[in-house]
């Protein structure tokens, strides 16, 4: 337990070589991860990638077979859940239906033996911080989904945990409320300077919330980095696909150029140094420039399909070797190219990533 009051510095969370199997399948496959004090890190990945198991291991509900979890250098991996200073916001909120909001928020303080007067003060603070002071006497069944989430959040922060754990915190909210709550959570976490770990499968949520993103797949962390890094420079095919990179083309590397059939991109970072002769050329739809057919240096292609995306038009283009790529183009008042139209395609080398994994 940290001392009460503001200005509490966030704690550092270190996960080292954590392993957990369910049956023969690894749920966590030697995961190592460091969360700097006060940072918000998201565990991003598809369902079944081990992100929730990893979070439950940090909270103490899952006992790992190997590895360590340390808070500010102190190992907590052997402690039962109730002796860890982690507060978890459950996906289903887990509010106690037989207690009112005050009872729910005060539960953690009561279990930790905080005296009545201090308990009341801290409950009041937490309710004000989450803007639900007027709901203090309500029961969970009398609250909307958004209000329930605020109660769960108040219940989690009121104990001033070292580590805040949030399991798909916005999954049950509708789109408009979700974005609102994401911003609010981020502001609250920053003002408290509490180290936080968020589990999500939503890349937009991860990009918006995080200081750092750990992309997980099959129990492993595939990439750990800042949102812009993960978005712009995915480290693996999986990360690229999961972060919504539309075009992943098998390419051969010759003389520092990446050749995906007729599409040749010169000067891609790493192409000259690569140890292998082949790689995956990854680029987003907006990195593709569509030019007039036959323009110098462009690869010939034709339009297969087009669809409006508001301010842009998304094209499906077939290259000469029948591989298709997706290209998005700002809608600058011109006509939408109709299927069958011959075009030239060029891809910006700076917007490309070469993936060998």
């Amino acid at each position: 337990m940290t001392a009460a009051g503001s200005g509490t510095r966030g704690r550092r969370l270190d996960i080292e070589g954590l392993v957990k199997h369910f049956g023969a399948t690894p749920a966590i496959d030697s995961v190592t991860l460091s969360v700097p004090p006060g940072a918000l890190v998201t565990l991003l990945g598809p369902s079944g990638c081990g992100k929730t198991t990893l979070m439950r291991t940090i909270a103490g509900f899952v006992v790992p077979e190997a590895g360590d979890v340390r808070v500010d250098g102190r190992s907590i991996v052997r402690l039962p859940p109730e002796r860890r200073s982690t507060a978890m916001l459950f996906q289903s909120y887990g509010l106690f239906p037989h207690m009112d909001v005050t009872g729910n928020v005060g539960f953690g303080l009561r279990m930790r033996g905080v005296p009545q007067a201090e308990r009341e003060r801290r409950i009041g603070d937490a309710l004000r911080m989450t803007r639900i002071a007027e709901l203090a006497a309500r029961f969970p069944a009398q609250l909307s989904g958004g209000q329930q989430q605020r109660v769960a959040l108040a219940r989690a922060i009121v104990t001033e945990p070292d580590i805040l754990l949030l399991d798909e915190p916005f999954g049950a909210l509708d789109q408009a409320l979700r974005e609102h709550m994401q911003v609010e959570l981020r502001k609250l976490q920053q003002s408290l300077a509490t180290t936080a770990l968020v589990v999500t499968h939503d890349q937009h949520e991860a990009l918006m919330l995080s200081d750092l993103i750990a992309v997980m797949n099959a129990g492993r962390i595939e990439q750990f980095g800042a949102p812009s890094e993960v978005y712009d420079r995915p480290a693996t095919r999986f990360v690229a696909g999961f972060m919504g990179v539309e075009n992943l083309l098998a390419a051969t590397l010759e003389d520092g150029r990446a050749c995906a059939g007729p599409l040749i991109v010169a000067g891609v970072d790493g192409a000259a140094r690569s140890a292998t002769a082949s790689a995956t050329l990854a680029f987003r739809a907006e990195a593709v420039r569509i030019e007039a057919a036959g323009s110098a240096g462009s690869a010939p292609a034709h339009v297969v399909f087009s669809s409006h995306r508001g301010s842009t038009v998304l094209y499906e283009l077939a290259l000469a070797d029948d591989r298709t790529i997706l290209a998005s183009e700002p809608r600058s008042g011109g006509d939408v190219r109709s299927p069958g139209t011959a075009v030239g395609v060029r891809v910006d080398a700076n917007a490309c990533t070469l993936l060998t994994a």
Partner: protein
Amino acid sequence: MSADERRPWLLLLPALLTLLVFAVAFAMFVSVSLRTQVAGSAVFAGAATFGNYRAALASPAVQDAAWNTVRLAGEMTLLTALLGYPLAYVVARSPSPLFRRGVLFGLVLTLLSGGVTRAYAWLVLLGNRGLVNQALAAIGLPTVRLVHNETGVVIGVVHFLLPFFVLTLLAALRGIPVALEDAARNLGASRWRAFVHVFLPLSIPGLIAAASLSFAGALSAFLFPELLGGGRVRMAANLIYERIVTDYNLPRVAAMAALFLVLALAALAMLAILQRALARRFAPAAEAA
């Protein structure tokens, strides 16, 4: 009203007819209880009178049986709950489906085996020369009387009630999300305090429902007191049976039976009121809707 709107009522017809038959039978039963039997015959005569009820209320045998019935049913229900709650809890929270199915299979098997068979099985086990006493004698301990007394009756009835109690309670316990206990532990509650502060309160409506069912079953116990009580344990049904067989005074026995029925209904009504009050206290979710 169109034919379509009427149709649901047709589905209720068999149930309503069955209820009607019972209502008619019960009305006849009550009307008989108000008559007087001509001595030495099977003829009812005279004007309607509460004389049979007065006689039954004044009878020490009826008073004893009434008290015994309520007391024993209470003891049996308490014992069933003490054995059944941990069993239901372990089954509800067991991570192993094999274990869960095994226990449920055992309980259902108990339900399927007949009462008489089970009563004789208990005699074999618990009798004065039964397996339990043979074992006690073999290790040099004094033998104990386990049947032909209240102990035997309580054992038999509790064993009979246990599956009803556990299956009823289990349905309620499985409705309590595991996430609530996880949340409690995450907030600093030990396993035990998570149980006391979260699981137990939320299980109370289900516990009362299961206990009510068990209590109703215990109140109407007949077979086990008859076969394992050795004629010493008289519960309501046994007294009624004994009086019909010995006196054959139907109006008298009908009045006695009606009184026991009122007693049973009153006891169950009290449990229902308790259940409602506790449901309001421990599960406000239902009230808010």
